[in-house]
Amino acid sequence: MNAGAPSSRHRSHEERLAPVLVGDLSADAPEVREWRADCAECAAALDRLLRLTATLDRIGEQERRDVVAVADEVSDAPADDRVRAVVERLADAEDAPPAAAGRPTIPPWLVLVAAALAVFLVARFLRSPAVPPTDPGRPSGVTLGAPLAMEPSGTVAAVRAFTWEADADGADRFVVRVLDPRGRPVIDPVEIGAPPWTPDDALLRRFPAEFTWEVSVVSVTGEVVATGRRDVTVRP
């Protein structure tokens, strides 16, 4: 079966290898030593399988040791504040009602005032000395939370929309980049006001099966204040 064609002296490698692999027969048993000498293919196949099972044993032993050691440490330690903060944030984010639900109606006069203020601020911004542009590819300091709940992430069947969550206060826009496995840009950076980002089919076709995408949170002053990344593999 998997180990190649058997010689004429035995029907299949499996009938020899399987009993040893499952422990019904010791690898040092005389009959095993005999057929190892008799069939080089069987001997090589057995060696490869035993190497693999030894690797698995090693992984298992390390895992059991680490898990017990860490569990012992944690059982006597106070709760980790950083862990608590993340878990509570995740729970709150899930429990929060959708943003649109229950949103109070904004009076028209307030909309007009806000619009006038926005025009004023834009005009003032345009007249003021230019703010040195910041390379949106290089985070220069993190004052906002990095994007969370970034999707897609990991192995997925298909890619359609890119979504994430980020602190609203101070976040003005987002820059999305897609990189190939060597870190080279697959597309030009895309700047958008709010998630999700839904690339069109022509753009999606340019994505490799394995890519990294990242979102930079850009403040009103053009400074990149946080960046999040995720690796994605699209299942063939």
Binding site: A18, V70, V74, D80, A91, T233
Partner: protein, 208 residues
């Protein structure tokens, strides 16, 4: 307070912990029971420790800040996958496997982005080096294998169960378990020899 793993009561088989407490905890967390959330937070204190331990074993390719960032990412993954936890291992073992895969992804991500590395961290081979070794390749291969073979192999090698104990757990004969095991090991070996084990397409934290 977390009970130490080796203090857990054994089932009548004498060796197989049921992990039912952990499954109940996961469900209670999803139901937002305050006491369960508190216990969950305490037990997830294992995440930064596991990441530091695993990172240290690999020679510390990630610095302290990287590990802190990764801790947050891992907690997000755990939270999202908590519904998938089936209690087939302890919560800590399940988390440990997620930490391991996320750590390898984090190291790979960092090595693909030389601009994120300090000069002191950079070596001439970093541009192409992959942190994967036989162990990681085998683990990723196991993720691809899928049940029942992947479960049987994990229980046999990672939890040191006998074929009889696995058969009891699955409600099938020992011979069936041995067949699944043997075929699984052969498929895993074939995957690794084809080099498929180096693909980063394992389902993160899918192992339970």
């Amino acid at each position: 307070m977390l009970r130490k793993l080796h203090d857990r009561p054994a089932t009548p088989t004498g060796r197989i912990p049921s992990h039912e407490d952990d499954l109940a905890l996961a469900r209670a967390v999803r139901a937002r029971e305050p006491a369960a959330l508190e216990r969950f937070v305490r037990r997830m204190g294992c995440v930064p420790r596991m990441l530091r331990r695993q990172n240290g074993r690999l020679g510390g390719p990630l610095d302290g800040d990287d590990v802190d960032d990764l801790t947050q990412d891992v907690l997000v993954v755990i939270w999202r996958k908590l519904d998938l936890f089936e209690g087939r291992s302890t919560l800590e073992t399940w988390v440990y496997r997620i930490c391991r895969l996320e750590l390898m992804n984090g190291i790979r991500r960092k090595r693909r982005r030389p601009d994120l590395m300090d000069d002191a961290e950079r070596t001439p081979d970093d541009a192409t080096a992959e942190p994967e070794d036989d162990a990681e390749a085998a683990l990723r291969g196991l993720e691809r294998l899928g049940p029942p073979a992947s479960d049987v192999i994990r229980w046999k090698h990672f939890e040191a169960l006998t074929f009889d104990e696995i058969a009891h757990r699955l409600g099938v004969s020992s011979n069936t378990v041995k067949t699944w095991y043997y075929r699984g090991i052969c498929r895993l070996r074939d995957q690794l020899e084809r080099g498929a084990g180096s693909d980063a397409d394992a389902v993160e934290g899918g192992a339970t």
